[in-house]
Subunit: 338 residues, 2 copies
Amino acid sequence: MAQIIPLDAARTPPASLQPLFDLVASDMEAINRIILDKQVSDVELIPELAHHLIDSGGKRLRPMLALAACKLCDYDGAGHVRVASAIEFMHTATLLHDDVVDESGLRRGKKTARMLWGNQASVLVGDFLLGQAFRILVDVGSLPVLKILSNAAAVIAEGEVMQLAAANNTATTEDEYLAIINAKTAALFSAAAEVGAAISSRPVAEQMALRAYGRNLGLAFQLVDDALDYSGDSANLGKSTGDDFREGKITLPVILSFRRGNAEERQFWKRTIAEGKIEDGDLEHAIGLMKQHKALEVTMERARSYGAIAHDALGIFSDRPEKAAMQEVIAFCLHRSH
Amino acid sequence: MAQIIPLDAARTPPASLQPLFDLVASDMEAINRIILDKQVSDVELIPELAHHLIDSGGKRLRPMLALAACKLCDYDGAGHVRVASAIEFMHTATLLHDDVVDESGLRRGKKTARMLWGNQASVLVGDFLLGQAFRILVDVGSLPVLKILSNAAAVIAEGEVMQLAAANNTATTEDEYLAIINAKTAALFSAAAEVGAAISSRPVAEQMALRAYGRNLGLAFQLVDDALDYSGDSANLGKSTGDDFREGKITLPVILSFRRGNAEERQFWKRTIAEGKIEDGDLEHAIGLMKQHKALEVTMERARSYGAIAHDALGIFSDRPEKAAMQEVIAFCLHRSH
C-alpha cells in the first residue's frame, strides 16, 4: 500500500530538504562552480545579471532532483553534473523572462534583474542562458536527455503563452488552469527527474515513474505557490502577498472563489481580476471570500493529492536513501511557507 | 585566382537569388509546410503570432543557405529539411526578441508582432520557437549539427547583449562593432552553411570552408543593412530609413563619421546618438556628414571585402551549380536595396 501523505502538517515532524541536500552535496558544489563560472561569457553584463539571479539563494530544487534521480538510477557516468547545471540555466532563463512578462519588482526578496538592468537585458541574457543550457547538454551528448529537455523548453514557453492568454479571464476553468501549470511549472520538474533514468539507460518503466513523480511534484509545488500568494507572509515569501491578485493572474484560489461565489462576488472578481480596478481593501476582501469558500484549503487539498501521486510513482523503486529523500521533498513542498 | 567581386553593380548583370531559389525549390516547399504547420502548437496565440512573422515575406535566406550547403556536400539523408526549418525558427525567435528590445514598430513593411500582440507574447512565443527549433534538431539526431546550432544560439544572444551594452556609446570602435555583428548576425549565417558539411560527415576542411563562407557573408549582409538604414528607400526597406539613428544604435557609418569628424561634429553625434536628443533635420544632417566622410561608401567597401573572403572560402569546392548559386548570393547581398 502506498503511504498516505499526512493532511495535517502539525501532526508530523517538519519535512525538510536536508536529506536531499546531504545526498547531492558534493555534486552541488560542482554545479555551483559551473553556474557561477565567471568565464561563461566575456560579455560583462551576462555573468553580472545571471549571478544576481542564480546566486540569490534559490533552493536549486530542480538540479537537486535531477542529481537525486541519477543516484536513484545508479548512474555512473560523468554527465549528471552538467545536465543538472543546464536545468538550472533553463530555469533561470525562464525566471528572467517571467519577470519581464509579469512586470515583477521583487523575487526572493531582492529587486528583479529587470528593475536593475532593464527588460532588454533580461530578455537577452535569458536567451543566452537557454542557448548555454543546450550547449552544455550537447556537450554531454545524450540524445534521450536532449529530447526530454528540448521538449520541456518548448512546453514551458507554451505554458507561459497559455497563461498570458488566460490572464484576467475569470471564466478560466480548473482544467485550463491545470494545463497551464502542467506546462509552465510541472514540465521542468518532470524533465529534471526523468533525465535521471534516461541518462542511466534504465528501463522505460523507471523513466515513466520518474516523469510522473516530477510532474505531480511540480503540480503540487505550483498549487502551494498559488495558495501562498494569498496566505503567505511577505517577508518569508520573498515577494509580496497578493502579487497574483494585483497582476490579475488566474490561479486556483480565484477560480474556486469565482465559481463558488454569488453574482455580487463574481462582480467583485470581474472588477479586480478582469478589469484590474483594484481599490484599498480589495486584497483583504478577496482573501475573506477565499476563506469563506475554502478556496485556499481546497487548493492545498489538490496539492496534497498530486503529492500523493508523486509519492506513489516512486513505489516501483526499492527502498533506499535516494527514494526516501525524494519523497521527503514532496512533504517539504506541501508544508513550506515560502 | 579568386574571382573579384565587382565594385560597381551597374557594370554587371543584376545578381539575383534566383539560382538559389531554383536549387532548393522543392525542399523549400517542404520547409514551408513545416514552419506554417498550424499543428505546431494547440495554443492559438503561438501559430497566430509566429505566422505573422514567418509568413510575412522574409527571404528565408538562412534555411536556403543550409539546403544549398547540404546539396554542395552531396547530403543524401532526410534530415536537411528539418534542420533548415529549425534554423528559420531560431531566426524568427531572434527577430521577435529583437523587436521587443529595439521597441521596433515596423518589420518588412508590416507592424511588428509586439505592436499587434504586445511585448509579453513576443518574448514568450520567441522562447517557444527556440524550444521548438531544438526539439526538431534533437529529432534529426545529429550531434555535430546540434553542437553548431546550440553554439550559434548562445553566441547570437551574446551578440545582442554586447549590442545593448554598446548602445548610445559613440566611443565604440570598429573592432567592437565587428565583434557584435559577428555574433548577432554572422553566427547564424555561418552555422547555416556549416551544418551542410556537418550533417554530410564531410572532411573538416569543407566544414571550415562553409563556416567561413557563412560568417563572411553574414558580416557583409549586416554591413549592407547598416548602410541601407541611412541610404535606403523606406518603402523598399520595409522599415523606416533612420531607424538605427533614432534608436541610438551604433553602426559602422556612425563609428566612421564620429572618428573622422571634427569636435563640433562629435558633439552632434553625442547629442543625437548618445543622448537621444533628436530634432527635426538631424537625420538629414547625419546623412550629410556620412556623405562628407564617405562613411557609407567605406561601409560598403568593407562589406565587399568580406564578400570577397566568402567567395574565396568556397574555392576548395569543385565548380558546380550549388557553388555558383551560393556565390551569387554574395553579390545579391551586396547589391540589394532592401
